[in-house]
Symmetry: D4
Subunit: 215 residues, 8 copies
């Protein structure tokens, strides 16, 4: 009744409106997913709690739930994108990174995961520079002081999408310190999305990696 | 003596280190620009005051100063990029927008300017949607409440780089309200750089528009 | 014993003091509502939890509980107001919107609900412009970046009361980003009330819609 | 060249786009005002510095400059609105109050000024309650702790538009304390615009006072 | 073992160190209270949870627990102070007010309670002005926009100790809006203590009321 | 014309409304001071710039200007108060301290100045403890981290009025760090006024020192 | 799989990477600790919940769990450091202090504990000055207004590492007031780590105390 | 008259009270420096404007003014300390770095300057790692996002004192972003002093480098 689905989005992006699962009831989700399935559109439900995911998978067995990323994905039709690297500072940043990775894969990107390579031991990142440089875009996921955003930006020549995370405590202010670090990055190839917004980071990087198609 | 030039940058981006003109003395600038000219590299000096610009143009007559953008540009060699749209909410946002536009042009992009089309009269933006959609990336430049970021993101299917500006007063907090609006954008194709960072916005969009080259 | 009821309010507004239900015990509520009922005044209890609502409805069966709005309403006598539109950006903003709508209806207004028409798909709002324009005032309810406040203000020529919501995460800061966007609106027909204050938004819009009476 | 005038606004409000004078050059202002004059539209230029005002008055002698309000006004055609009270806490708030008053008058309202009646001596306000209550809307202008917003809201039964000012020092944070006080007002007939936004306050109150016309 | 009791305090104030009950275990509390009792000093334990209070009362039956104020008080010896008024804006502010009132009484003051007289209905406060004026100091307890601090300060000629409370929501920021209002008070007889610090407000007012003794 | 003098204040405090000199013109000041002189009231003008002070002293030679405190004082009639100590952390805090001291003296208090005794060399304060303890109230004036507020509160048994100053830099945020320190003081005999509000601190302490009169 | 252990750290500090226990599962912890044990490295797991600690102690009985500090420690090989004092303002700061103390001891330092000596009763600190002065570095742990940082810095001639704690309420903002106080310290021998970062404070002080080794 | 010199400081640190030159008049400075010279103590005046420096050098020709560091230094007697590295991110950070370097040298340290090696080109830092590692402590000076703090901390095994600078713009908030980055550092050998506090950073590092003396 109340929801107004944005049917234009598939036309603009070649990818339909993504559903934010967290605040919705199982009934609402079953309804929305059902509609999308009928229209032969790919379904992506993010920030989805495990129990609600179960109900979706039961009804739509072609869909898959990624528990770390908290994403339900039901693929329909074909999408194509380029190569995307997803890089994290610590192990605690991995859930947000997986949200980015699964989103990018759902949009057709090939994803390279480079995890736990933060600046407290920068040699870990230096070892993997080549691998990242070969991608069309990188997502960097970091909490605490968010220094990895600039460090990675300073090492590669591709667009870097920075996702600050709320990992940390005290004067971290639930991700604000990392967000500020990334917005103030001294590397010019870094742009930033919201704290813990793995979905946005993955979507944006995949979109960049596709740019070829539109020239 | 003290400065440590980053010679790796040209290798990574096909574009040398850009010089921040504001805090440097004329002597420092003449020195640094001289070095870059000798190395046959393109020179871009941003946030450059008119009086210091005069001295640079006098010494290096092949360079050009863009007063609204406050950029000194001396082209050497060839660079190639795609199409970039630069969109502003009001007329006061134009200096930041020009900084973005001149930067993107220096990197080889073809730039389309769409100015003073803010959401207080949204029909002005709707009229120009097609023009923007044909680009590989858009830079959106807005102060006050920064709503144009989401409004534009919601209209086109390309990556949008949002540059909040410090235009406004009171609870605008010198651009913070626009920055927050852009970071929280409900459109997934929006990523953000620092307040008044026209250079960063133009650089990032031009970089995206080039992605093709690296696939 | 402790409470000091404000009996002047009915004289000023033609509407009695509204009771904030959240922090009060069932006993306190039964007492206060009883007093108002005896005085033949309309009762409105806001932010009322379901379990406490049950007790009120049991004792005062003429009253009605609106679960989404979390409002208990017991009508006595007649009130008259004009037409009010209530507009939301997303589906998560609906509880706050319903608080506004039920409040305005309790004050005698005719309410038009326009839900889930945020700027990520602005065509949804454009389709319904006429409907809103015909009202005497509009309440706009939006979280995240709150861009709908300015977008709506820019489309219609009536006073718009903006209610920022705490919907969002990260740099949304529980509604602060939306609040700032609305307070900084580039549309001059937008004024703002507190985050999640649906009651205030509905009350203010209904009051405007009644202005005729006092000229 | 760059400016995109919003010609729709006169249709929506019966009042053209208001020009923000502060950031514009004399040349830009002469051009914009000239265009509006030709189109037979009322001209209102706000936040206009005295020296630029002189140039406007010299060229357009039918216009008038209000130095305290910093507004240039050139009336063309007829507008009608109701009664608006403008109330201030201290004498330092008067420039913002005058911006509100002149704006409301330009929109056709009859304005009642009630100045320097802050809560440090509340009897001053009590004496003038009747006068304010007879209006269709009130603008309250206050800095420091902004308590007058709630105090006035609690005394009258009409919509109050609160304009926080940057008057104060220290933990006033250039008007933030007053803004917060107004947004958190315990009186339900108070809505708020930006710090020092006298124009917005006067515009909104005048718009309310006109509501009759549209019913 | 770890605690270092401040035995100087009784000498300075004629009142011993007050114990903050919230973070302490029952065992720690029984130990500390036991020591104070032995030394024949009055005991005041603040922010004490009901279950821990029960254990204290069981062991020290001469003590009394005030559940609304959450204070345990065991009187030993005599203390004398003057008259203190405790004034609140709403009913939700009463727990903090009771903390102030019980503390002041424990220090020997005679306390007058004036509750639920906020500025949304200022006539309620005007009715009780005389009663407050006769005291040596007043404690004002208010949340939301905290306007009662200035309103009371403007009505009486005695020192007012303002206690902001965390009552409110949204842009109230858990009491910050009220704190700022009080610190910025335009009335010069207002000084402020921490948010929800009823104990501090009552202690300070009682201390003022005693000043006579020391002249 | 515009100003509404608060004539009640002399009745409440035995001291007339104090004039804030900073934002007023010489003409306004001459007018207001003239009125007060005619009414035989003591005149106190605070935050008064030297050039405007000269004009006042020329016209009213019985008045005196205190350049460090930036106060103009013209005594008429008699006032009586107790003993007040004014204590500063550093030498840069002295202007604010003098504003407090002169205000308290104007209200009839005997003032003891204890300057430059901050916690970086706490022995300086310990040496002067007795002197302060003999007063009825103390004003403590400190910037940077504001630790002197708690340190003094912990040493004496009298009410302490804390005035944070904007002395400092960086994360001092123009006095916010000192303000927070004082509001959070672990000493219960500390209450706080606005940053740099020497006038308020001196007024409040003098008022306390007079409390005797009213018992 | 995902974790990238930083094996360089033992070389740099003579102490291996410390494991942050809070966000890790028991399985992850058993794996990581096992690896470190095999490599004959000392194990330190911080912020470890009691239930997970039990599992570690069961599997590695040579390790010990410190419940107040919430640290698991398994010593292998020898480390040497100097003398470190750990000083707290109140008893509620002790858990953070113990985290510092146990960490410093694990790094080979001799630790002196000086607890509950805050500035509300400064004589308690003065009594123990000598004891602290004899150490090579001190860790000061304080919440609320954090004044002890400067007070201690002002008493001793050794480097002081300040750890603000989140102890307090209201305008304490979970430790921000103490953090600001410490960062703004007027004593030059104070440097600061994150709120509640006992581990960091103890590590840094122990590192200083070892400096000798490297000269 | 007003100043209270802290003569204890030389005893504690073997280094006298350092004079903050900025807010003092030439007369005050000549007086204070004269006193220190008589007492045969080393003089250090920081944040000293060039014109005032001239007067000091004229009167005390044995002293020297360092214009970039803005420090006046007059050496008397002997002091000894270890090796300190001073590292900066950019060239704009050099004035703060020089303040640190000159201070450390005045305290007897041997200083190694490593400037303009920020993370946007991290190879510049890697090249100089050895040089820094051989010191007893390092001062890291960085603005913008302050990532160099963690990057350096992660490369060396010595205590790092981080000095955030106000270099940057927009969401840098005059150094707050760098301060937060440093306080949240994922490297455990980083402690932080105030924004732009080069003096504090140099003092603290030199103090660490001396620790040997006291063991
Ligand atoms: N949901 C609400 N949000 C804000 N204010 C409210 C709300 N509901 C009632 N009020 C106001 O709060 C006051 C009632 O507070 P109380 O005396 O605690 O019941 C009245 O002045 C109402 O106008
Ligand atoms: N003083 C003012 N404060 C806020 N907005 C204003 C003010 N004056 C004009 N405006 C608005 O600002 C816009 C004009 O901006 P511009 O295109 O830069 O002239 C119009 O939409 C006006 O409604
Ligand atoms: N330095 C000051 N700081 C804060 N308030 C002041 C100061 N001087 C005077 N006041 C107060 O400001 C009000 C005078 O404001 P005004 O009517 O603008 O002169 C009076 O209520 C005074 O109590
Ligand atoms: N309590 C703590 N607070 C801050 N940092 C810590 C703490 N415990 C360990 N660390 C650091 O956090 C990192 C370990 O993170 P992880 O890889 O997630 O185990 C190491 O660099 C440690 O130095
Ligand atoms: Mg790790
Ligand atoms: Mg415009
Ligand atoms: Mg939707
Ligand atoms: Mg006045
Ligand atoms: Mg009430
Ligand atoms: Mg001094
Ligand atoms: Mg204690
Ligand atoms: Mg450089």
């Amino acid at each position: 009744g109340y929801a107004t689905l944005d049917t234009h989005r598939n036309l603009r992006f070649g990818f339909p409106e993504v559903v934010l699962g967290e605040p919705k009831t199982v009934e609402q989700l079953l309804g929305i997913v059902g509609t999308l399935v009928e229209r032969k559109q790919t379904v992506l439900v993010t920030r989805l709690q495990p129990d609600k995911a179960e109900a979706l998978v039961a009804r739509f067995p072609k869909g898959e739930y990624h528990p770390v990323a908290r994403i339900f994905h039901l693929k329909q039709g074909k999408v194509r994108a380029g190569r995307v690297a997803v890089v994290t500072a610590g192990t605690s940043d991995i859930p947000v990174a997986e949200e980015a990775a699964i989103t990018a894969e759902a949009m057709g990107a090939e994803v390279r995961r480079v995890y736990d390579v933060g600046v407290a031991g920068i040699h870990r990142l230096l070892r993997r520079r080549e691998e990242i440089q070969e991608c069309h875009a990188a997502v960097v996921v970091a909490g605490m002081e968010g220094a990895l955003g600039s460090a990675l930006g300073g090492l590669v020549g591709i667009p870097v999408v920075a996702v600050p995370t709320s990992v940390g405590y005290g004067a971290n202010f639930k991700g604000v310190s990392a967000l500020l670090a990334m917005v103030n990055s001294c590397a010019s190839n870094v742009a930033t999305v919201n704290i813990d917004n793995g979905f946005g980071g993955g979507f944006y990087a995949a979109l960049i990696s596709r740019t070829k198609g539109r020239r």
